[in-house]
Amino acid sequence: MIDVVASEWLKVRTVRSTYYLLLTAVLALAFGGVVSYLMTADYDQSPPELRAAFASADPSVFVMPFTQFAAGVIGALAITSEYTGGMIRTVLVTVPRRVTLLVAKIAVVGGSALALGGVVSFLSYGVGVVIIGDRPAPLAQFATFGDALPSVLANGLSIAVVALVGLGFGMLLRSTAGALTTLCFLMFVVPMVAVFLPAPWNNRLVSVTLLYLTPQFSGSIERAPLTPGWALAVLLAYPVVALVAGAVALVRRDA
């Protein structure tokens, strides 16, 4: 088992796509910083009555969805890059126990995405603190680091969640394009379409989409439809369902 995990970890480190996707996270951080800076500059030049209508300038609002998707791509590629071109057969000949292979992939993808998510989430918060300074709410979402910590940790967790959803889709669909289209649809299209549903279904559907579960879990949305506990349960249900479906496909089908 440890050997297979070591092999999977080496695989992740020896392809270029991993580094491109890490670069994406860095670019997202930079982009989030720029947006945060522009909002803050705009805030400084606005009269007090307009300032009260400002949204939060926390860069995480921009950084997290990009990083989540990048992590989802890493997760999907961990298996689809092996289906493309047939490497999966070579891999399954060296590791014929498919459940072992799956668990190793989950450990490597989940573990590295959790680490990545933690780092990016803290950096994003730090960039926000540096740019926003001591300006009050609504520009600053959190007054103290203590207030921000649940949100920062939840954001870090969400990266691992999406990475594992990507891995599950990849196993199920065996194609990079298929897995990423499905992931993109789930993350970005469903919340947009949901808005057009009649009330209360619009809010109900939006509340269970990936992007809105994290702030509900960390309690940073007022009057959230879901309690933090339910939000966490739904958030974790995503990778569990995707991975179980993927595992059944991996074990049952001929390679």
Binding site: V4, S7, L10, V15, S81, E82, R89, V93, T94
Partner: protein, 302 residues
Amino acid sequence: MIEVRELSKRYGAVRAVDGLSFTVEPGYVAGFLGPNGAGKSTTMRAVLGLDAPTSGEALVNGGRYADIRRPMCEVGALLDANAVHGGRSAVNHLRCLARSNGIGDKRVVEVLEQVGLAGAARRRVAAMSLGMKQRLGVAAALLGDPGVLLFDEPVNGLDPEGIRWIRDLMRGLAAEGRTVLVSSHLMSEMAVTADRVVVIGRGRLILETSMRELTERFRRDVLVRTPDPAGLRRALERGGAVVVPDEDALLVQGLEAADIADAAARSGIAVHELTPRSASLEDAYLELTEDSVEFRTEEVAR
């Protein structure tokens, strides 16, 4: 040792392998022959646990492949040289595979040297020719120093030097007491590589025999030229031979060349030529698999 017992594999309505049984023992190169689509690759995938058999079983060293703890150390396989991730370097590709079976980087360097890729170790796999990928696939198969080896069409894409190399390699591996199964659709290749052959067509066993017996079985007749064909024909037919006149010669079946010469001498008939003729192995193979060709070029009806 590889044992295939009553193996069947259906894909929908297609019977890719149909009740196939054969055994490959250590110490010789076994050629696995059949036309395209005969079920060779499917059988190999079943042996390696990639495809689940519809019925029957395929065993390696008496057990199921999926139950082997470190399979690379017991079985090495080259199925498809292109089944690699193009983005990794040759050495990293092998390190990834080796590590999953607890094999160290030192062995990776050894096999790269053994297959002649030491100089290309850092090259990305996508930038390699098919011949180099075949060598890389052989390197992967050899990583665990396994006692059983399966090669699916290993000479594809190799240049003549590469073909000779892989032939010598396989014969060397068998001589070391390993079990070696090599598939091919080219009889000519197997004729110089294999000691025994398993011929299949449409998923069924056609013949399992030694190369020598196969050659023997398709020895056809003896061509005889003589100034007195009619006299010799009578003499030979008295000896139980079947004689067919062919232009200015006789084609004799049922008697060895020496017996024909003796019969001619007893009858006082001069013999100008005496040539035992065997069908080429290529002909033998085509004859064997004639009824089982999956995709043949149909003559276009006018």
